[in-house]
């Protein structure tokens, strides 16, 4: 039997109340059975309708409650139908629930529902959808109230949350519509303040974020997505260009202290949020002073992320009472156990700074010209150290790191910079704009090739790499067509330098066995989680295959983990989101002695799993203004030897305002009855 009694989700009505067991795909696959591992979800109400698991839930009362919260807690009041319409909606429903309703009130609800379609944004507009659904499909329940015949129904507790497709998709859950609206209102500092609530590295994520948010932008259903990332950069640049001070104010200092391993995005972000709460944090960073930032620094070349701008974000965090101890490797200069002794809590955020081996013949031979890996190459170039690179450079891989390597190779003086990838351009995991950037700078691409063997001369110097040609076969688990070698197709690509850049791993050797902290087989730190299952009894996992709702507490009490070393190598924005949660859990653990997730956390995870964006939604809007792309320096000269000047130049304020005006402000409210 279907778990669902009624659903109007996705504008498709399925009614099993009078028997029948039609399945509701979303409810079966995407929604967990419980809210928090224990409490059953009995109904879900939101922008796209109503899902009723338990037929004993009082739908009328639920609609009234929903309307009340929309009006009192979420409605921004910045348009007349929204401000007043939801008020009339709330009061009309309240009147019905209190037994003073009339049948004509149901017409009023539908009328208001229609008027709300004229709203400025989608918050109040979409809130009308489930309410009107209840009037249409639960009319008898309403009439029972109006006639004083309603029966006592099951008592439920409601959990509410406002979200938006972009905000939901952003791993840091930045309140994107709010910061875009602030830009629209020419309030750049306020915009940045909103960004910092969920993203303490705005200059960075305004430049190098792969911006998954833009893949969930409803404006794309009209024409093309909002340039969300560059708007973030605009807000961030405005502050430093005008010498303004950040608006946030840390709380008074508290007694308990936290040690953080690694001054990368996760470590810095966790330190920021803990410092904001008044907790003194000490970050231990392996690299020397001037190279803070972890992978954002040594993994992202300066032409994408200028050092002084990155340093400014770090300096702001330090100004809040965070100390960074440089040149100190945990496990070498200080042990994890020592940190555990000295501090009240420890957060492990060492990142993933070790290149994966490529698996080619000769890899272990220590040939001259065969470099350790892409990450190491980028780090040495960034730090101005000799990289061991020659004039004709081959980089193996298809991700952003591989692209960074070929582009840096040009800037380090390579005459030829060649990328070898075993599939085609279309399957490359690197961001399209990065590949295009490399193309423009004169990088050569060899697609559908598999390096087999390193070719060297008698001085053990690399002279080339022997490759096999590949062809694409059937799609694999990732949906990409699997490359297959063509027998006998061996050929040699000449080069004097070969750099493998096929992925990276965390170095977790500092986590000694005596700590009891378990490591996964993917070489990430195991953390505690709350198991959530869907109606088909399958575990709900995040995109990296980790359990959906994790507390980020390791097997050792008081030691938490975050960032690439916890999630698996991912993105800055994912590390920041993860670290923000870690900071919140650490605070709870320090103050209440328990590392737990709040209703807000669970609700966030449930929505992430459900997905707030619908690429098939028909969004009626006039497509009069096209997406605006930022200015960029063009031409090969931008990648000339030694030229690390920033390539992308951002928006002017007025361009940013114009782009912000395109935003449809797709807020929506979710309510879960448990």
């Amino acid at each position: 039997m279907s778990q669902v009694a009624f659903s109007s989700w996705g504008r498709q009505v399925i009614d099993n109340r009078q028997g029948g067991d039609t399945e509701v795909e979303v409810a079966k696959k995407k929604l967990p059975v419980t809210f928090d591992g224990e409490k059953q979800i009995s109904a879900f109400m939101g922008w796209d309708g109503l899902i009723l698991n338990d037929p004993n839930v009082d739908v009328v009362a639920m609609a009234a409650e929903y309307a009340k919260h929309v009006q009192e807690d979420y409605c921004c009041a910045k348009c007349s139908p929204g401000k007043k319409g939801t008020r009339v909606m709330q009061d009309t429903l309240a009147r019905i629930v209190s037994g003073k309703g009339e049948e004509s009130d149901l017409d009023t609800i539908e009328n208001i529902g229609e008027l709300l379609q004229n709203c400025k944004c989608t918050l109040c507009m979409t809130s009308a959808i489930p309410i009107v659904d209840t009037v249409k499909h639960f009319r008898d329940d309403y009439l029972a109230y109006i006639r004083g015949e309603n029966k006592e129904k099951k008592a439920v507790d409601y959990k509410l949350k406002m979200t938006a497709p972009c905000q939901d998709k952003c791993p840091s859950h930045i309140d994107i519509p709010a910061y875009i609206e602030a830009i629209k209102d020419r309030r750049f500092d306020e915009s940045l303040d909103i960004i910092r609530e969920s993203m303490p590295l705005p200059a960075i994520c305004g430049r190098v974020c792969p911006h998954p948010c833009e893949t969930a932008c409803r404006r794309a259903n009209v024409d093309s997505p909002i340039n969300i990332m560059v708007l973030k950069r605009t807000a961030s640049d405005y502050e430093w260009k005008h010498n303004h001070h950040p608006l946030m104010q840390p709380k008074p200092k508290k007694d308990k202290t936290i040690a953080i391993v690694g001054a990368g995005p996760a470590g810095l972000a966790a330190a920021y949020y803990l410092a904001l709460e008044g907790y003194p944090c000490t970050i231990y960073e392996t690299l020397p002073e001037g190279f803070g930032g972890g992978m954002i620094a040594v993994g992202i070349p300066a032409y994408r992320m200028p050092r002084h701008i990155l340093q400014r974000d770090i300096d702001i965090i330090c100004s809040m009472g965070v100390e960074i101890v440089y040149d100190t490797k945990v496990g070498r200069d200080v042990s994890l156990m020592e940190l555990k002794e000295k501090f009240d809590a420890v957060l492990l955020a060492p990142g993933a700074h070790k290149s994966k081996p490529m698996g080619v013949e000769g890899e272990e031979e220590g040939y001259s010209g065969f470099l350790e890996g892409g990450i190491e190459f980028l780090r040495e170039a960034y730090m101005g150290k000799p990289t061991g690179m020659g004039k004709k450079v081959c980089v193996v891989g298809g991700g952003n790191t591989a692209i960074d390597c070929v582009r840096v190779a040009l800037r380090e003086g390579a005459e030829d910079s060649i990328l070898l990838y075993r599939r085609t351009r279309k399957e490359m995991p690197a961001d399209v704009w990065e590949i295009d950037g490399a193309d423009e700078e004169g990088v050569q691409f060899e697609f559908l090739v598999l390096p087999k063997k390193i070719v060297v001369n008698d001085q053990r110097q690399v002279t080339g790499v022997e490759c096999l040609k590949m062809e694409l076969g059937e799609p694999d688990d990732s949906g990409r067509r699997r490359p297959q070698p063509i027998e006998g197709s061996e050929f040699v690509v000449e080069c004097d330098t070969l750099i493998p850049a096929i992925g990276q791993d965390p170095d977790l050797s500092f986590i000694t066995e005596d700590t009891g902290i378990k490591i996964t087989r993917w070489n990430t730190v195991v953390t505690k989680y709350i198991p959530l299952k869907n109606a088909a009894d399958r575990d709900l996992n995040d995109e990296m295959g980790n359990p959906l709702s994790r507390t980020l507490l390791t097997d050792m009490d008081g030691v938490f983990a975050s960032g690439d070393a916890e999630i698996g190598p991912l993105t800055v924005v994912a590390c920041v989101g993860n670290a923000h949660r870690a900071a919140k859990v650490i605070q709870r653990w320090l103050e209440e002695g328990e590392a737990y997730l709040t209703d807000e956390d669970f609700h966030e995870d449930i929505l992430s799993n459900l997905g707030v964006y619908d690429k098939d939604e028909d969004v009626p809007w006039l497509d009069a203004v096209q997406r605006f792309d930022q200015h960029e320096i063009h031409g090969k000269e931008r990648a000339s030897s030694g030229n690390y000047n920033e390539v992308e130049l951002g928006f002017s304020d007025s361009e940013a305002i114009m782009e912000a005006e395109r935003c449809l402000r797709c807020y929506r409210v979710s309510m879960i009855a448990i």
């Binding site: 807690d73 009041a77 348009c79 139908p81 401000k83 007043k84 008020r87 209102d185 809007w621 009069a624």
Partner: protein
Amino acid sequence: MVNLTIDGKSVSVPKDTTILEAARQVDVHIPTLCWLEKVSTTGACRICAVEIEGVDRPMTACNTPVKEGINVTTQSEKLTRTRKQIMELILVNHPLDCPVCDAGGECDLQDTCYELGVVRQEFKADDVNPETINHWPLIQQVPNRCILCEKCVKVCHELIGADALFVNDKGDRAFIDKKVENCTYCGNCVSVCPTGTMISKPFKFRARPWALKKVPSVCTYCPSQCQIDLNVKDNEVYRVTSDDEGTTNTGNLCVGGFFGYSYINNKNRLIQPVVEQQPASWDKAFERVVADIERVKAESGAAAIAGFGSPRLTNEENYLFQKLFRAAIGSNNIDTEARFGAQRALRALDKGLGLHGASNSLTSIGNADVVLVFGADPTAEAPGVDWKIQDAVRRNGGKLVIANMRQIHLTQFADSQLTYKPGSAISLANGLGRLLLDRGLLDEDDLKRTVSNLDELKADLAAVDLEKVIAATGLSRESIEQAADIIGQADKVAVIFGADICKSGFGTSKSAVIANLAILSGALRSDGGLFPLDEKGNTQGVLDMGVYPEDLPGFQSYAENKDKFAKAWNCTLPEGGLDADGILQEIEAGKVRFLYLSATNPQSFPNSSRWLKALEKVEVLVVQDIFPSDITQLATVVLPGSSYAEKSGSFTSLDQTVRSFNQAIRPVGQSREDGEIFAELYGRLSKTSVTFSQADTYAEISELTSLYNTASILDDERNTCLRKPYQVADQSLQYQLITVDCGVEGLQLLTGTSSGHFGTTSTWAAAPLEVEPEGLVQVSTEDAKQAGVVDGDKLKMTSVNGSTVGKVLISESVPQGLIFAPHNFIALGVQQLMLDGENMTSVQIEKV
């Protein structure tokens, strides 16, 4: 161009035009309520929604740009029903207090309901009935009348840059709240409010809008001269309004313009002539003045008589004043307070550039690519200029460079703020010039064509020692380089300088280095501009009228044009003439025995105590003013003049635009128009019958000078006369070699105008006084700590000239080593501490 159809009418408009603007071009009326042209669109009311073929929802015309080929329908049954129902929603729980609402008669909500035929109410909801906010000074907020159009919020944030108002709370409880500490009391929120939500407390319940007569006038508080309407009834000014359309200030006003009018009907006004401190008739007063003039003249010659004209008086009055002195009395000992400021800028600009004021109209500031504000606080000295700068920087993509010893209101918008050490303005300007040269940012061709001493210019710049500049200014090399790059890379450059430059010691030299910077930066081209600011309303006019010994009206050298005027005036004109400094010395020497102060109070002059002593000494002191003061206490004869509301005349704004206005109310009490007083004296002294006529005087000025470009007099309410465009002729610019540097030592006290007050006049207006009742001494945290004072403590400041005591305000806007105090409050007495003709002095401070 984009082509579209609106209600069947084809229209072609530029890209980015909104549907609303396009509709207006073809006379299609779309109703609006929250739309305000001068700010960004809000899209709150939704009643401008229109239908677009192929788009399955109504789109708001106010903020939807046009698209090629769209077919727009603005009227349909569905749209009408929706608009009406939205209006009904807006009216849910709207109070029914229209009869006593301040907006009654000028309420956009009423008008829109009327237009859309909203006659019933379908909806009901509980009334959240938010409380009226009454605790804000000067402005009351009645939230239940608010439709949340956000016009007030946007004007406050986008145009004024005050950022005080914001929407607080959620849903139906949402209301307009205020960060009171940010409010500048400009009153623009009241002006733009479409309903009776934002209310001026001084105006509330005093008059119905339809009972007021609007008289077009010009605000004279500052030289930006906003165009205003005096709203009058029963010989009283009840409020001041300004139209968005057809004014250079687009309807924006400041605290002075909006709230500062009440000095006009202040009960303390001088309303009767006084002779020997006894009330007297006009006839007796005139007799006494004439008798004393004739007596002193007979005994000591006309050179024993001196007088001051005033930037508070009209052009015509100042013209008459100088004519009275030169032709009827026979003395050229006339001057004005511009001697201590604007006159110096004039001298430098005239010498170097052949300019007698600003080189372009205020509008050009708003279109500049870069604005350099040097030693000025436009927000305080000329708010209208501040708004134009914000136009350039916040709306038109321009950049802002500020060189100032303090942080000012505009600092928040600056791309570069050069906070230079006191006494290093010349070094900084020279350093910027040197960097423009070094970094290849000069327009060599243009300079070759226009500058007569280019070789000298280059040699001079090359000799500037940047290390010394860095040491003197306390700035980093990078910051000066960044500023030079911003200035040098821009096409349209506006350079603005003000009190810190021209009112300070070496003011002429400092003005000259700014003139040099104007040459180097290309600001003198027709799309740029150079703008000297003076705080007083009609300073440009008083200079135009030649109320100083060196020139006759129209900047005609006195020595060279004496005969021409003597002939026109049918008299002989005296030789020589004393300026303010000369007059002071000669009073002290007993040689000047008769002093006539018209609308001038030397207590606001630098080294005011020396002036006060001189006034005590002078044998005959005639004071023509509108308020009593220590000076009227000393006067032999007091003649009650009148405010601009009580007279007809013209004023000249800082961009040399001349605007005429008519009398709005009769002079209060027995006071008279100042021009009438001068005419009467002229008649009595010359034994002719003279009646004052603005038109005749204007005509006489036009005839004898080339000031008024009659070809460009506009046919508008104020007969606006635009200046002749300034064109740089070949080899006409003279780079001025300035090497003097005037470093200072020790803690400096800088005086200037407060942004809440204008001269001393506004201290007679209740409203500005309510928000800033006294002058506070701004001290940096470091200096305050050293002196052991906190906010509100009394601080004694002692200079070589004496000492005074003021209340402390610890401020982040002043750096260590500099304290700032306003000179608007005579009671604060900071002008006593200044040296002759200066605005900054070394002081020692101690807690009282």
